[in-house]
């Protein structure tokens, strides 16, 4: 399956939506902004020409979304103006344009060389994502010193900062992107946009590696299918006002419903094959509010793939 972002008009957009679903694709996210519709979709590779033809007919815009279906944490050392809003917001927005679901996390004690640290809750929260992007400052020494924050983070880490550094000089990260340190202006210049492109590529590469790792021991059910079933069988999800009531991860999903109230409802979702959701997923409380976190079990654990 190939992820895309489709932007088009409200008029007849249902035709596009139905076509994607008829072909066995998935609508991962749909936002309606006045008369515009923006959809993140997954399309089976063989049917891409059909979708492209429909797109031309509807005069829409279809672009590849390399980060679709993944959740990325954009982490700044603080929520103070030293790191916000320009750099962090622009980078987060850029990642969203590449299809990812982005959460911005400001650390409680991420500043200063000596005092920088993560709380247990922050570590857990970051580990719920598929990748973490750390936005650091302008000084080489500080960036290297603050890699101590990576200690307990299990998800792949990408770091961005001002100075030119080799990835090997920043221990613990998968990729280091230079040229985006602390700055107090919007990122409009060519070099800045190029740096943001490099971030998207780096995260895309990291996610691909993660996917191929997951492919070695296939997941019992695919995350988009999980999302489709939840939306079909839990009507209350329609009342959630968040733009992504079911947020996909590479190996699961976060459902924006209360864990205590909906745990059993979710656990008892039944797939067409007769399998219950609780058999293929681990159901845990999320560190984000009181949401539900699903982690799909691999084939080696369940013995089947549906």
């Amino acid at each position: 399956m190939e992820p895309f972002i489709w932007t088009g008009g409200l008029y007849k957009h249902e035709e596009f939506e139905e076509l994607v679903e008829d072909m066995g694709g998935y609508i991962l996210q749909k936002n309606i902004l006045q008369s515009d519709v923006i959809m993140v979709i997954l399309v089976p590779n063989a049917d891409i020409p059909v979708i492209e033809a429909k797109n031309r007919e509807l005069l829409g815009k279809l672009v590849k979304a390399p980060l679709a279906g993944a959740e990325v944490a954009v982490i700044t050392p603080t929520l103070a103006y030293q790191h916000l809003p320009h750099l962090a917001c622009d980078v987060a927005e850029y990642l969203r344009r590449a299809g990812s679901k982005t959460n911005m996390i400001g650390l409680a004690r991420g500043v200063g060389k000596r005092v920088a640290q993560l709380t247990a809750k922050e570590i857990d929260l970051i580990n719920e994502h598929d990748a973490a992007l750390f936005l650091y400052g302008n000084f080489k020494h500080c960036i290297i010193e603050k890699t101590k924050l990576f200690r307990d983070i299990e998800v792949p880490i990408v770091v961005t900062g001002g100075p030119e550094l080799k990835t090997s000089e920043v221990p613990g990260c998968e990729a280091y992107i230079s040229g985006l340190g602390r700055m107090m202006h919007r990122l409009r210049q060519k070099e800045e946009t190029e740096s943001m492109d490099r971030i998207v590529n780096a995260i895309g590469k990291v996610l691909d590696e993660r996917r191929s790792e997951l492919d070695k021991d296939q997941l019992s059910v695919s995350p988009p299918r999980l999302k489709a079933e939840i939306e079909k069988q839990v009507p209350d999800i329609q009342d959630v006002i968040s733009p992504t009531p079911v947020t996909l991860n590479l190996n699961g999903a976060r459902i924006k419903l209360s864990y205590n109230d909906y745990r059993d409802v979710i656990a008892n979702i039944r797939f067409d094959e007769g399998v219950y959701l609780r058999e293929v997923c681990e159901i845990k409380p999320s560190r984000m509010k009181d949401f539900i976190l699903l982690r799909i079990k691999p084939k080696s654990e369940t013995g089947f793939v549906i």
Partner: protein
């Protein structure tokens, strides 16, 4: 004080062992000064950053400032039966001017005839009182400047540098920030920087 006529930011350097970081920091500082409209107000600025220590030092010299605005500059003052009629011509200063008169004469003694006009009771010598009222400051650019400079300094300082030592007067500013208690050698660097820009 240095009475030389200064161009805006005729000296502006950021010194650090980390040259790349210094270059980037210069950009950060000029963005902040631009945002807060301070570029024209500051004549010389020198910054020293040592991320290893860690310490951040900034010294600057203000350009000779603009004159203060008094009530006489922004209002018409005339005599009426009840006392002295002060009518503020420039809208933007009216609330401040009336506020100053309230605190000087007491709110209950002042008759407000209009949004921007009040009558002040006459006490004693009329001419002297008229001079007194005209001399009330309604806008002090220095004060405003000071506020903006402090705001800028806090924005410029690296986050986490919570131990701070500062000195600001009408003509210059000096500011040291660090994560650790301020060391005497940093004060020495600050002093050198100050003398290098003539502060």
């Amino acid at each position: 004080m240095n009475d030389l006529v200064m161009e805006p930011l005729e000296v502006f350097t950021v010194d650090s062992e980390d040259l790349e970081g210094a270059e980037k920091y210069k950009e950060v500082i000029s963005d902040i000064l631009m945002d807060l409209n301070l570029v024209r107000a500051i004549g010389r600025l020198k910054v020293y950053v040592d991320p290893k220590a860690p310490v951040f030092i900034i010294v600057g010299l203000f350009r000779p400032g603009l004159a203060r605005l008094t009530l006489g500059d922004v209002a018409d003052i005339s005599s009426v039966n009840e006392g002295l009629l002060v009518s503020v011509r420039e809208e933007q200063y009216s609330s401040k001017a009336i506020g100053r008169l309230w605190s000087k004469y007491g709110r209950e003694n002042i008759i407000q005839t209009d949004r921007a006009a009040v009558i002040v009771p006459v006490k004693g010598d009329f001419a002297k009182q008229m001079d007194d009222v005209s001399a009330i400051t309604v806008y002090d650019p220095q004060e405003e400047l000071k506020k903006n400079v402090i705001d800028a300094l806090l924005r410029i300082t690296p986050e986490g540098f919570r131990v701070r030592k500062h000195f600001i007067d009408q003509h210059m500013l000096a500011f040291i920030a660090s994560e650790d208690p301020i060391k005497p050698e940093w004060l020495e660097i600050c002093r050198k920087l100050r003398s290098s820009i003539g502060a």
